[in-house]
């Protein structure tokens, strides 16, 4: 199989996955309770609820609802939020930039710190600095992110007055959310960079380069790092998905006006349309990221087999 047809197959599979996710999300939300209670409040009568059910179209059989939903999606109409009574794309649209911004910052921070730690640890393999750094990564991984987040608010805002406690706007507002969200990824990246570096450092061409008398620093930066970072790059795709999960928690603590909190709220108030589109959107982002990473990988590294 050549690279081109590999990519086409990959693309087809991605689309199929998306469709399956759409179906699952649709079915799952329809299995849940009745949203009219939340929409109408305490004093609504059953007649009013029936009226609302038919207005929302949730009194029809499930297959009919799904076909209707598909037709709407094709037209670009993803429905109206039950709760905000607005187009879900608009609701999500205004929430998305802060989340993407936070995720990008967390990835940048996580990778910068993680790669640094990983290299330093690998270069000092089995010395005390390696052990200390690795111990630190264990701690960064083990502390639940909301504990870290609240602890940072107490230390940096309440006691030291260095940073604003919450909200969104300036770079100062972004510091703590980025650290809280990115630290466990930094730990992950550090571990992988380290073991990948150790692998490469042990390979023949590196030994040859060192033997040829190249400075150790040059060897590490020029020869090892490039090869060692390949497995780290694949991580971006995997991490992108799990960052969404982390941002749900971090956005709540720091009052960051992103999509994560919207999703939690949509779950709690059974706002099906928002939930569906959120799931679909996140899945799309993850699938595209992974597709791009895979494609880049396939094109760059001829050793990758195209078969699954």
């Amino acid at each position: 199989m050549n690279a081109g047809s590999y990519l086409w197959t990959r693309l087809f599979r991605s689309l199929l996955t998306l469709f399956a996710i759409l179906l699952v999300a649709f079915l799952a939300t329809r299995l849940s309770g009745d949203p009219t209670q939340w929409l109408l409040g305490d004093t609504a009568t059953p007649a009013q609820q029936d009226a609302m059910r038919s207005e929302l179209g949730i009194d029809k059989p499930i297959p009919e609802q799904f076909l209707r939903y598909l037709r709407q999606i094709v037209r670009g109409d993803f429905g109206t939020s039950y709760f905000e009574h607005r187009d879900v794309l608009v609701v999500l649209g205004e929430r998305l930039p802060p989340t993407l911004q936070l995720m990008a910052l967390a990835i940048a921070f996580g990778f910068a710190l993680g790669i640094t730690i990983g290299i330093v640890a690998a270069v000092n393999h089995d010395r005390w600095i390696d052990r200390a750094l690795m111990m630190i990564t264990f701690w960064m991984y083990a502390v639940p992110n909301f504990v870290l987040a609240i602890a940072m608010i107490l230390v940096f805002s309440l006691w030291l007055h260095w940073l604003p406690s919450s909200s969104y706007g300036t770079w100062a507002h972004a510091v703590m959310p980025t650290l809280a969200l990115g630290s466990s990824y930094a730990a992950l990246v550090a571990r992988i960079t380290r073991s990948s570096m150790l692998d490469t450092l042990g390979q023949d061409y590196v030994r040859t380069a060192t033997a040829k008398g190249l400075a150790r620093r040059v060897v590490i930066l020029k020869h090892c790092l490039r090869n060692a970072l390949l497995p780290v790059v694949t991580l971006v795709g995997l991490v992108a998905g799990s960052l969404v999960g982390g941002s749900v928690v971090i956005e709540t603590v720091f009052a960051w006006p992103g999509a994560g909190r919207l999703i939690v709220n949509a779950v709690l108030v059974q706002d099906y349309p928002v939930l569906q589109v959120a799931v679909l959107l996140v899945a799309t982002v993850v699938i595209i990221t992974n597709f791009l990473v895979d494609s880049a990988y396939a094109l760059i590294d001829p050793r990758v087999q195209y078969a699954r």
């Binding site: 599979r13 199929l16 996955t17 998306l18 399956a20 996710i21 999300a25 799952a28 939300t29 299995l31 849940s32 690795m134 990564t137 264990f138 701690w139 991984y141 083990a142 502390v143 639940p144 992110n145 909301f146 504990v147 609240i150 107490l154 309440l158 730990a187 992950l188 550090a190 571990r191 992988i192 073991s195 150790l198 042990g202 497995p231 694949t234 795709g237 995997l238 991490v239 998905g241 799990s242 960052l243 969404v244 999960g245 749900v248 928690v249 709540t252 999703i263 779950v267 939930l275 959120a278 799931v279 996140v282 899945a283 993850v286 699938i287 992974n290 990473v293 990758v304 087999q305 699954r308």
Partner: protein
């Protein structure tokens, strides 16, 4: 543990060894266990014993309230020996709750890990041995699972079906199935390419026999390592869900829930959240250290 996601997307895992190397028996080295690992193992053993003996060790019934003795600080911070670790906002003994929570957290993580591992290994074996459409379909399920961030899926399922333990454990457990499935499948595919497997098949060995006799033993070590990783992953996941109010519900309790509930008292009555957080972090770190050490022992490529 971080290493859990260290797998490239084609299913082979850097956790665990390449089967080719694994099949050659290496001369067994004497097991030398560093002190920090001893410490980790000791901590985990104590946690396990405490959890198993919980009802005997709890100084009070963990749900017993005393509203007039609420927010009592621990010994050394103004409290008395009556409540060694103090009391919470309903006047319940923190030590008793900590022990009971430890029991619940370990129970959830153990059962969740078991579910994820069994489902994942079974599907991985099936995919690897059956091949063809079955393989494609199972890998398709893996793709779907990978595309929906787990917290999002858990939120949706819990939002729909409620927050009982009977829902929570399978939901959390299934978080890890795809890791086991891909690991197992990758091992199966590698082993199948081995010459001796062809020989076994040529001699008329059945597929099931092949799976049980030759593949499972090879996949055991990396799975044990993966278990230590998913175990701590599940503990952290449960605490995130508890923070959002979607984890374990009262009157039951877990470490994550104690931290989540106690966070509003951090200024003033810090002990409510700090005690369970310390236990949670200590166990996670111990597990990570142990798992990492185990991987180094079991993975010949990293032995240098």
């Amino acid at each position: 543990m971080p290493g859990s996601a260290v797998r490239d997307r084609r299913g082979s895992a850097t956790v665990g060894a390449a089967p080719a190397e694994r099949l050659e028996r290496r001369p067994r080295r004497r097991l030398k266990i560093p002190p920090v690992i001893w410490l980790s193992i000791g901590l985990l053993a104590v946690a396990l014993i405490v959890a198993l003996l919980a009802p005997l060790l709890e100084p009070y019934r963990p749900t017993a309230q005393s509203l007039r003795a609420r927010l009592v600080p621990p010994v050394g911070f103004g409290g008395t020996l009556a409540h060694v670790l103090g009391t919470d906002h309903l006047g319940r003994d923190i030590l008793a709750r900590l022990i009971e929570s430890l029991r619940m957290t370990l129970f959830i993580a153990a059962l969740g890990t078991l579910i994820g591992a069994l489902v994942g290994i079974a599907l991985g074996l099936l995919a690897g041995t059956a091949g063809g459409f079955v393989d494609s379909f199972i890998m398709f399920l893996v793709d779907i699972q990978l595309a929906i961030p787990f917290t999002l899926a858990a939120l949706t399922v819990i939002g729909i079906f409620g927050t009982s333990i009977a829902i929570l454990i399978p939901v959390i457990g299934l978080a890890g199935w795809s890791q086991y499935a891909r690991l197992t499948r990758g091992q199966v595919l590698s082993v199948r390419q081995m010459l001796y497997v062809e020989a076994v098949q040529a001699l008329g060995g059945s597929q099931r026999r092949l799976a049980l006799r030759h593949i499972l033993p090879n996949v055991t070590s990396p799975i044990i390592v993966l278990v230590t990783y998913t175990f701590s992953q599940i503990m952290l996941l449960e605490s995130s869900l508890s923070f959002l109010g979607l984890g374990v519900q009262p009157p039951q309790m877990s470490l994550g829930m104690m931290v989540g509930d106690g966070r509003n008292y951090l200024i003033g009555s810090w002990w409510i959240a700090v005690a369970p957080a310390a236990v949670l972090v200590a166990i996670t770190v111990a597990l990570a250290l142990f798992g990492d050490w185990l991987r180094d022992r079991l993975d010949p490529r990293l032995e240098r």
